[in-house]
């Protein structure tokens, strides 16, 4: 439960951040909006991953799998069968949850934990990547391309829209994801997951069914992650197995919660707000300087991660929160 004197400050902070964000598209250009869309996506997927790692203590290094399925399934349904992405979204979610059920069922049933569970998640993402390279329906290795609609026939139910449209969608996702995590934290599941993360055996001695608690978190996390995939498909309008299911993608999306603060509500937001603009600025700078350094972003992220882990191993947000008197 939140202490009384802290609550007004949190609300004040939320208003100071949310209101400008809602008004921002009036002033912002296309480039800035695109960067922010990316940032909200990472914040949202970060929340999904943080539920698993930060709250329930289950390390997944294959979350790109769920995002990728959440992108491919609605894209294929739309392209091949003309099914609205608003319905396809749920189909993608169902497929992602099915994969999560298989991974969780195997891993948690047979007591595969920690690093070994992480290897299992990588394996499933990799196998899926290779499989999608060879599935003709999804375009194989050559990729899947969604035609860009003419602006005059754009329809919201087909998720046709420009940066402003997707800015609000991703902002909504990030806010909703944060709301879900905040609600769970103070709920029954929040206690069960955090206890399980701190000490599974002690949690079990308190009547907690570890298998069920772990299945719940992987299913919820996969369902959330799959929703971010829809944005990938219908905003960028091209999908490649080598990108969608790549391990680098899985690693990229866990950075924000780690840097921001594992197991905190604000961590993934703070991490994404820091990392995405910094990464994009770095890319832009390198490009402007005429340098050819394709890996520079990854190197910068790696260096930043080392600095954070060395100086603020709990992440940035817990430290900032103490400074602001929020905890």
């Amino acid at each position: 439960m939140i202490d009384q004197p802290v609550l007004p400050r949190i609300l004040l902070l939320a208003c100071c951040v949310l209101v400008p964000l809602l008004l921002l598209p009036i002033f912002a250009g296309r480039y800035l909006l695109t960067v922010l869309i990316l940032m909200f996506q990472f914040a949202f997927v970060g929340q999904a991953w943080n539920l698993m790692m930060g709250y329930a203590g289950q390390l997944s290094l294959g979350h790109a799998l769920y995002v990728g399925l959440g992108a491919y399934v609605p894209a294929v349904l739309w392209l091949q069968f003309g099914i609205s992405p608003l319905l396809g979204l749920f189909a993608g979610m169902a497929v992602a949850m099915l994969m999560a059920a298989v991974i969780g069922g195997l891993g948690f049933r047979f007591g595969i934990e920690g690093v070994y569970f992480a290897l299992l998640t990588i394996a499933f993402a990799e196998v899926t990547r290779v499989a999608f390279d060879h599935i003709a329906l999804t375009g194989g290795a050559g990729g899947l391309f969604l035609p860009v609609p003419a602006e005059e026939n754009a329809a919201w139910w087909r998720l046709d829209g420009g940066p402003v449209f997707f800015y609000y969608i991703t902002l909504g996702l990030a806010a909703a994801g944060t709301g879900i995590v905040a609600a769970i934290r103070h709920n029954r599941l929040g206690y069960i997951w955090r206890a399980m993360r701190d000490d599974p055996q002690a949690a079990q001695a308190l009547g907690i069914n570890l298998f069920r608690a772990r299945m719940l978190v992987i299913l919820l996390s996969a369902a959330m992650a799959s929703m971010a995939g829809v944005v990938n498909a219908f905003y960028y309008r091209n999908l490649f197995p080598s990108q969608s299911f790549d391990m680098a993608r899985s690693l990229e999306l866990i950075l924000a919660p780690i840097v921001g603060g594992l197991g905190t509500i604000m961590g993934p937001l703070v991490g994404a707000a820091l990392l995405t603009p910094a990464g994009e600025a770095l890319s832009a700078f390198v490009q402007a300087a005429g340098l050819d350094a394709p890996g520079v972003k990854a190197v910068a992220y790696g260096a930043l991660l080392m600095v954070i882990i060395y100086f603020k191993p709990d992440g940035i947000w817990p430290w900032v929160a103490r400074r602001l008197g929020l905890s």
């Binding site: 029954r188 069960i192 206890a195 001695a205």
Partner: protein, 244 residues
């Protein structure tokens, strides 16, 4: 004593790769009793607890709680049937506050967090632990961590409480405090207590009956007075440790 016992252990054995850690142990504990298990290190006391609590499956034998068979159940199912336990090597939820540790335990019997919180606060109150409620469990001193183990197990409202060396590392005055608390819980709530203990002072003060284990086998069972006068017990346990 009631006619049918609350806890009934029969012919219980556990073999770890050739080592017989628990060797054909049988005993019963009546509802409302305080029952102690003593014995030298490595006698199989904690293994016995882990067999009752479902952490290990027995190689043979059975455990019943109020007629319901416990062996073959998972630890969480056994907890739900009313067995609360502490761990000899403490296992706090280190990043959570003391109160949140207890709320987690209390949630087993209460669906709503609000009600679980109310019960958890009552348990803290009763163990004189309220002043530490907001502390992170990882920051507690060892005696307080032992106290947290007891408090968290109590928060599950157990019928049977298994306490694994909760007095170890406590100062004599703290031992007296813990003894008084356990006795009060036993008397007022009717909680049956089985405790593993090296602190003989606490055993004598609390337990109606004592089971003595050595090399996994039962060498004596009786009142504290009877057991301490038993020549076999003196030779294998008290003589070498308690009198040293």
């Amino acid at each position: 004593m009631t006619a049918s016992p609350l806890l009934e252990v029969a012919g219980l054995s556990k073999q770890f790769r050739g080592l017989l850690a628990v060797d054909d142990i049988g005993f019963t504990v009546a509802e409302g009793e305080i029952f102690a298990v003593i014995g030298p290190n490595g006698a199989g006391k904690t293994t016995l607890f882990n067999l009752i609590a479902g952490v290990h499956a027995p190689s043979s034998g059975s455990v019943h709680l109020a007629g319901a068979r416990l062996d073959r159940l998972r630890p969480d199912q056994i907890a739900a049937l009313g067995v609360g336990r502490t761990f000899q090597i403490v296992r706090p939820f280190a990043s959570m506050t003391v109160l949140d540790n207890l709320i987690t335990g209390s949630l087993m019997r209460n669906r709503s967090v609000r009600e679980a919180r109310r019960r958890a606060e009552a348990v803290l109150e009763r163990l004189n632990f309220t002043n530490q409620a907001a502390r992170r469990a990882g920051e507690l001193t060892l005696p307080d961590r032992k106290r947290l183990e007891v408090a968290r197990a109590l928060a599950t409202e157990p019928r049977l409480l298994l306490l694994d060396e909760v007095m170890a590392g406590l100062r004599p005055t703290e031992v007296d405090g813990m003894v008084a608390t356990l006795r009060a819980i036993n008397r007022e709530q009717g909680t049956t207590i089985v405790l593993i203990e090296h602190v003989m002072r606490a055993v004598v003060a609390l337990a109606g009956r004592v089971l003595v284990l050595h090399h996994g086998a039962r060498i004596a069972l009786g009142t504290p007075g009877e057991v301490m006068a038993d020549p076999e017990v003196v030779r294998s346990y008290l003589g070498t440790e308690a009198l040293a």
